[in-house]
Amino acid sequence: MTAGNPSRPSPGVRKAGMSTTASSRESSTARGAGSSSAAGLGKSDVELPALGPLGMARWAWTQLTKMNTALFLLLLLAVAAVPGSIFPQRIQDPAAVQDYIDNNPALGEWLDRVQLFDVFSSAWFSAIYILLFVSLVGCVLPRAAKHWRAWRAEPPRTPRRLERLPEHRSLALGGRDGAGAPAPGDVVADAARLLRRRGYRVAVRDTGSAAPSVAAERGMWKEVGNIVFHLALLGVLVSVAVGSLFGYKGQKILVEGESFANTLINYDSFTPGTNYNPDWLDPFSVRLDRFEAVFNRDTTDPRSYGAPLDFTAEITVQEPGAEPQPETLKVNAPVNVNGVKSFLIGNGYAPVIRVTDGNGDVAFEGPVVTIPSDGVYTSSLVLKVPDARPDQLGFTGLLLPTAVTGPDGMPRSVDPGLANPQLILSSYYGDLGLDSGVPQNVYVLDVEELTELNGMLSQSGPIAIDAANPVHELPEGKGTIEFLDVKRYVGLDIVYDPGRFGAFISFVLAFTGLLMSMFISRRRVWVRAAKGVDEHGRACTVLEYGLLARGEDPRLATEAERLSKLFTEQWGTADPPGDPAAHRSTNRAWSGPNHD
């Protein structure tokens, strides 16, 4: 850089060329002049930093790996997750998103364009967590390497002036004429042993000199905990990523007696992970044997009467080549088959209906899944009979589990139990549109192209069928509809999240690491022994020690006192028993009132 452009020689360049023989101070000025002239010709008064692409990258890296950048990104991640709870999310409820877009066409389209319906897989959300990830890696790895080196290195050298340390004490050992005083070398060796027993790692220094010392350090696990905490946060990120890359989630509605095989063809809806391969589906099947819903029958409190208390699904799980296994499925108690969890997320009634068409043939027979809309299971029903002839038939209406006709003549459900199930239906005929192959919402009957047969406002009135009156003849000889039975169904969420276990382990590790970094204190102690005189001017061995904590450590003084006690006991008892005076004098001849 300092070489400059030979066609434009400047004083700086020439000086730089000379600087090999000049003194170091001269050469640094020469370099400064050279670089400034190279960077800003004609703007000599402005010192532009000439970083270059490499320097720029290094600067960006330093900024990114700063701890406060990581904290900021973490905060940003939390803020960025907020729209996920404001707008419906495709990952949870794609139908709700479609509804939202249909209801707000202009706004919805824009929200969709900035991925506000896919917050957690959006470019901007990913950018934040990838940056956070890089920031954490860039921060933690060098820290770990540094700590590794620090651990392998010996505790740092003993400072010359121990009294400058935050905690400083001294003891005079021996006394009077110094006769009973232990030798400084022995004192230091004993101190090292005591400190090691207290969990310090020690290094004895300057043995054989007049003032040998021991350097000790403990609490190396604090930083380990810190690093583990950060790595575990990374583990959480990776686990979540693995889950969303390789996991899947699917829904299936099962009527009593029906089976579900874990094959894509058998799902009602299926959300694959970003990198999911449907060939990976673990084959097993689940049959719903029985479903039981318990409702509150306590009549003392009318407000909670009829509230659901418990849902239990008796299922049979069959894995290939294994015996069928009966299992019980409850809300929040999923059944786990090789890591694939089946959750009970919904239930309802499926009335069994038979439709005979205008030709007198049975065109449909079977359970029809209804969607409960309130606490008394007033359920909406849609039935499409595309094989009815001469005309296709469609039905929409309600299932009332316990139908009671109100004073206004309108039947409604008064209880979630099946006391008096009734179907109130409208009927239509015409082209259902299924034969065109265009997928249709199974829970919606598009009546635009259809002709009404029965309806609330039509001449013939709605169809009302129940156990006492199960058959209804459709007008115009279009056929009959028959109410045969009511079965129950369950809605299952089948979820495979390979990252779940890793996330759990990571959380445990993060918590452990956090506790370690909070409750372990990193401290250094230096002990030095030398021959000296006590407060009465008598020769003795002066034991001096100082403590230093890493960061704030309110318990450092306590530790200093504890060491004082240890040292006092050590040499207090080590004195010759026949010399009580010496024994006394070793006890805190002058302990450290002079610590700052």
Partner: protein
């Protein structure tokens, strides 16, 4: 589609992201995903109640086919039939149910092909959801000449999933004379494609 206003820009962004993710996570992933049909269906929220296929055809050359399939099922007329009974000539298995819109689209083609290959290849349906009367109404509508397995319990499906899993409604499997899966079509079977597949398998058996 309203839900995907920028189909052109979307995959590229996604690819860039997955590349970044790859570099950072260091995960060895086989190929970055485009928005595939499965994810698109999941995001559409159409509540159609089944997984549709895009007509993907997988053909397995004779030397790359798996083991002969094993299954036992019951036809709607009550006959129990096992895979062994299908050996000796090519067979076609079509997974369907009456309310599935694409199944209704391909039904006329299947009927014609069943008639064309009468005596050369056996056709069977595997009905995944319907009870007998509903299934028979469908067969009446489309004059389906071949029988179907009643597979609400998923027995035939589970057994076949071990070989070449059906991954959409409808799925069509072509078995060769030894009972091995020779081809799979996910979604509506294109008539001429299916015809060619059947001709090849029949020719092979001859």
């Amino acid at each position: 589609m309203i839900s995907h206003p920028s189909p052109a820009s979307r995959p590229s962004r996604r690819r860039v992201l997955s590349l970044a993710g790859l570099g950072v996570l260091g995960l060895a992933l086989a190929g970055c995903t485009e928005e595939d049909s499965l994810a698109q269906q999941a995001n559409s929220g159409d509540q159609k109640g089944y997984i549709a296929g895009d007509g993907t055809v997988s053909e397995y050359p004779a030397d790359q086919r798996g083991e002969p399939v094993q299954f036992t099922g019951t036809l709607f007329d009550g006959t129990t039939l096992s895979a062994e009974a299908l050996r000796g000539s090519p067979a076609l298995l079509n997974f369907w149910y009456a309310g599935c819109a694409p199944c209704r689209v391909e039904a006329p083609d299947l009927r014609e092909l069943a008639e064309r290959f009468d005596g050369q290849a056996a056709f069977y349906g595997v009905n995944l959801r319907d009870e007998r009367a509903t299934a028979e109404a469908f067969e009446r509508t489309f004059e389906i000449p071949y029988p179907s397995f009643e597979d609400k319990d998923g027995g035939v499906l589970m057994a076949l999933s071990a070989y070449v899993p059906p991954q959409a409604v409808p799925t069509t499997l072509v078995l060769d004379a030894q009972g091995r899966v020779a081809a799979r079509i996910l979604g509506i079977a294109d008539r001429s494609v299916l015809e060619t597949l059947l001709e090849d398998t029949v020719a092979e058996a001859a």
